[in-house]
């Protein structure tokens, strides 16, 4: 039987974008070194890139070790968690500040089953490298009822076209660091973000402490496979001891017409 492959990842790029931590934008991602002086035949330049890496960037997972002591580092996650049948669900009806809840997964199509890998299309990837501010601050995000639904339904891995596993307002205690969100949220809704979201990154905690593979910044060709059940592969590269790691998320779709 034939198959077709779809890349649901963004490559590491000097164009970014990166999560708006303080100070991260000083890093140069990829530097090119050319080999003029070491006697390559003809002393031609051969490129060797140096990767100055932040692992929590581009399409990446937050490993269980991110949230729990003794949790898996990225390369320790069992391969079985990173591969298997799954669904790409369509949440593109969602809007700015929307909360992804149990009801959304309950009514999602295709129907989510135990053991699935769930990939969520929020539509927000349309802002990737186009409108950094919208991408990082307004995306529809998981709240605990959604994360708990996934755990209760024995989903083994989840990824989404979201800048983080948690809702953009889930930064209790960090009002000063993300002050613009609180101001805008108040302007839009009339409400205090700190009252509506009283925990710091609760969904990271729920997903990582249950040893799930949890992926952020999914994108690429996701629109082409939204609404399908297919095989998903999301293997981290073999680098030891990292608590975040880029993953190449690939959808493998059966294509009976293809050899």
């Amino acid at each position: 039987m034939g198959y077709k492959l779809y890349d649901l990842s963004w490559p590491v790029s000097n164009m970014g974008p990166m999560w708006p931590h303080r100070g991260m934008f000083e890093d140069r991602m990829v530097k090119r070194i050319c080999n003029h002086s070491t006697g390559l035949p003809g002393r031609v330049s051969r490129q060797v890139c140096v990767w100055d890496a932040i692992f929590h960037s581009f399409t990446h997972m937050d490993a269980p070790a991110h949230e729990k002591t003794g949790g898996y580092f990225a390369n320790q996650i069992p391969l079985e968690t990173c591969y298997g049948t799954g669904v790409v669900v369509d949440f593109r009806y969602m809007k700015k500040w929307d909360q992804i809840r149990a009801e959304d997964f309950e009514k999602a199509k295709p129907k989510i089953k135990a053991g699935d890998i769930v990939i969520v299309n929020t539509g927000w990837q349309r802002y990737w490298q186009k409108k950094d501010y919208f991408y990082h601050n307004h995306y529809p995000g998981l709240v605990p009822s959604g994360a708990n639904w996934l755990v209760e339904h024995k989903v083994k891995a989840v990824g989404g076209t979201w800048a983080a596993l948690d809702h953009p307002m889930a930064y209790a205690g960090m009002r000063e660091d993300y002050f613009w969100r609180y101001e805008e949220y108040k302007e839009d809704t009339g409400r205090d973000g700190e009252k509506d979201f009283q925990a710091y990154e609760p969904c990271h905690n729920i997903l990582c402490t249950h040893d799930m593979l949890a992926i952020e910044d999914v994108g690429g060709e996701i629109d082409k496979v939204t609404g399908l059940r297919c095989t998903i592969a999301a293997f981290p590269a073999p680098i030891e001891g990292t608590i975040g790691h880029q993953v190449r998320v690939v959808a493998i779709v059966d294509d009976p017409g293809k050899n």
Binding site: Q47, A237, P238
Partner: protein, 260 residues
């Protein structure tokens, strides 16, 4: 029931990476080529910055794919390698009888390999040399049995999709003409032991990698780990590499997938 086998070697502090001029620049260590197996310090290539683990190094470490950009003029970068070239049916061939210092892997070895290699296959070669990865890096990098041009030509004629091996690169350990200036310690060792002139035995710099990449064949290096469990089998292989724009290589999780 699907079973997955991890055929990947990891990069970690203290693991060896193929030595490049880049090493000098990042780490300030002079003479990065000396011994070809200078061990990394405990602070490199992985370290903590801003409260998170980070990486500073080149990409030819652990199990990785070399992009055409790395060896041929006008070659594509690793992020442009089509996913179809990183996935598909393949065979894990047993070359553990070739597990000898400086052994040459030739066309004949592939011709008689089992399972029989077919067009479109991803071929993974188990030479047994992964035994030395991280255990004796001098031996791993300087003495490994490797392909000579007849092997690469065979794979190209066969139209394989990819070639992976329990080796640091697609070329023979001595294929670094002129060896005397590239790897003087290795030159001394080879002449001392065999009395032969490596310039005559291996007159071209990295011939296999260049011809394989030119033919569009995916080249995967440093396979290992659980490969003994799957040697001699046909299965599906995945080598979806960590995509980095315009880069010359990419670390990859090489996985064998067996569906029962």
């Amino acid at each position: 029931m699907t079973k997955l086998y991890d055929l990947s070697q990891t990069v970690h502090n203290g693991s060896v990476m193929w030595p490049h001029i880049a090493d000098n620049v990042i780490s300030g260590f002079p003479g990065a080529f000396v011994g070809r197996s200078r061990a990394n310090t405990k602070e490199w290539p992985l370290r903590w910055r801003n409260g998170l683990p980070t990486y500073l190094g080149h990409l030819h470490g652990g199990t990785h794919v070399d992009a055409p950009l790395y060896a041929i003029d006008g070659g594509i970068s690793q992020d442009k390698i089509p996913l179809e070239n990183l996935f598909g049916t393949g065979v894990i061939v047993d070359f553990r009888h070739k597990k000898k210092k400086w052994e040459r892997i030739t066309a004949e070895d592939f011709e008689k390999a089992t399972p029989k290699i077919k067009a479109g296959d991803i071929v993974v070669c188990n030479t047994g040399w992964q035994e030395y990865y991280d255990k004796d890096n001098y031996i791993y990098f300087n003495h490994y049995p490797g392909m000579v041009p007849s092997a690469a030509e065979w794979l190209i004629r066969k139209k394989v999709k990819g070639i992976a091996g329990t080796w640091p690169t697609s070329d023979h350990s001595l294929a670094y003409y002129p060896l005397k200036s590239w790897m003087p310690w290795l030159y001394e060792e080879y002449v001392g032991e065999t009395g032969k002139d490596p310039a005559k035995e291996f007159p071209t710099f990295e011939p296999c990698l260049a011809m394989l990449l030119k033919a569009g064949i995916t080249c995967i290096q440093n396979a290992g780990k659980d490969i003994d469990l799957i040697t001699g089998k046909r299965c599906t292989l995945a080598a979806f590499l960590l995509a980095i724009e315009k880069a010359d290589a990419g670390m990859t999780r090489l996985v064998a997938i067996v569906d029962d």
